[in-house]
């Protein structure tokens, strides 16, 4: 096709783009995915019956603070990588902050517990399924973010995929908290993080294939 004709055709449809369109699109994709993940939790796993009690407890908020802060940092990285001129992400180290803080809480917890109970505390009741559930819940959120990317322009596809996977994993873990009754910090640090890392790895693996434009 002739370039002038192409320009005429493209200019026939010029919808408005709101300010901060990247953030908006990512938020919509994330929330739609999270809605699906939330319905899956409520429908198949069920909300923990003591949720309203747990929400007054310390350990619930430790978990949520951990997963939400990881989500926020990961989403920030995703938003930056959604621009073609993304440059270096100088604040990726912020991801380490929640991990280190939670590890600190874990050490305090271990110090207060007799060593004989450590293994039980670390494995909880659900260590075998927790990472896999987080990973499974991350999938609809990842799909939502892929939808967001359809109008965005990542140029480092592997990094963008990893960041989207990380966001999806961390947000999936946030959703999973309404079901999961585990209370120990080292449990969360190990098994939640493993699920989130799996989601990020899958994102990195699929990024170059799925994010091409």
């Amino acid at each position: 096709m002739n370039t002038d004709d192409l320009i005429a055709r493209l200019s026939a449809d010029v919808p408005k783009v709101p300010r901060h369109a990247i953030g908006r699109r990512l938020a919509i994709g994330l929330l739609l995915g999270a809605l699906v993940a939330g319905i899956a939790v409520v429908g198949t796993l069920g909300i923990r019956p003591d949720l309203h009690v747990a929400m007054h407890g310390f350990s619930f908020w430790v978990k949520w603070t951990y997963t939400i802060s990881l989500s926020v940092v990961a989403l920030g990285m995703t938003a930056q990588l959604a621009r073609p001129d993304s440059g270096r992400i100088r604040w990726a180290w912020l991801l380490a902050v929640p991990v280190v803080l939670l590890a600190g809480a874990g050490i305090v917890e271990l110090a207060r517990t007799p060593p004989g109970a450590w293994l039980a505390m670390w494995l909880g009741h659900s260590w075998k399924v927790c990472p896999w559930i987080v990973l499974a819940l991350a999938m609809p959120i990842f799909a939502g973010l892929l939808w967001s990317f359809r109008r965005l322009a990542p140029t480092r596809l592997r990094a963008a995929g990893a960041a989207a996977g990380l966001s999806a994993g961390a947000f999936a873990a946030t959703v999973y908290c309404v079901h999961c009754p585990e209370v120990s910090a080292i449990f969360v640090l190990t098994w939640y993080s493993l699920g989130i890392l799996l989601a990020a790895s899958i994102g990195a693996l699929l990024g170059p294939r799925l994010l091409r434009w």
Partner: protein, 179 residues
């Protein structure tokens, strides 16, 4: 019309606000910029270059939500263009020998150079026309003092004085801007 950062950015933002005429004007202005960008970087035939230009125009159109109004437009544009070129080579010339790639890499300074050219044009725009014209003739186009004087129909000393004053004013402006 000459494409410069301010003008392109204004048109882009106006297009983002829904102004179709400005969006079309932007795409038209981008055609020569992109042709230059790709021609400098590939030994490909004009057809290839035109394909790339069109692909990039489509990308600029469909991916425009990824442009942040607070940032430089040309940096965004060249990042899109570079991505499209790499993608194009990956698809079309998967079996090409590595020489093609080398040329692509060698031309990497083009973005900076054209960015710098836009800056220079902008700075020269702030000078009185005669000083700007003389600096352009002697320092950019490479004419000698006497040639520049002949072209403009003025005396050689007038050329020298204009260039000197113009450069001094630019220097003051740049240093003032850096402070």
């Amino acid at each position: 019309m000459r494409a410069n950062e301010d003008e392109l950015r204004r048109l882009m933002i106006s297009g983002l606000d829904g102004n179709a005429a400005d969006h079309a004007a932007l795409l038209r202005l981008l055609v020569p910029v992109l042709r230059g960008f790709y021609r400098r970087r590939s030994s490909g035939a004009d057809d290839d270059i035109e394909d790339l230009v069109q692909e990039t125009l489509i990308a600029v159109h469909t991916r425009r939500a990824s442009y942040d109004r607070e940032r430089a437009f040309t940096a965004w544009l060249f990042a899109v263009a570079r991505y499209k070129m790499i993608d194009h080579f990956r698809r079309v010339r998967r079996l090409q020998p590595i020489e093609g790639l080398e040329e692509v890499l060698v031309a990497d300074g083009f973005e900076d150079a054209s960015g710098a050219r836009l800056d220079v044009e902008e700075l020269l725009g702030t000078l009185p026309p005669k000083q700007a014209r003389m600096i352009r003739a002697t320092r950019i186009e490479g004419l000698s003092i006497s040639e520049a004087a002949a072209v403009d129909g003025i005396g050689e000393s007038d050329v020298k004085v204009s260039v000197h004053r113009g450069l001094k004013a630019l220097m003051a402006r740049i240093q003032g801007g850096a402070r």
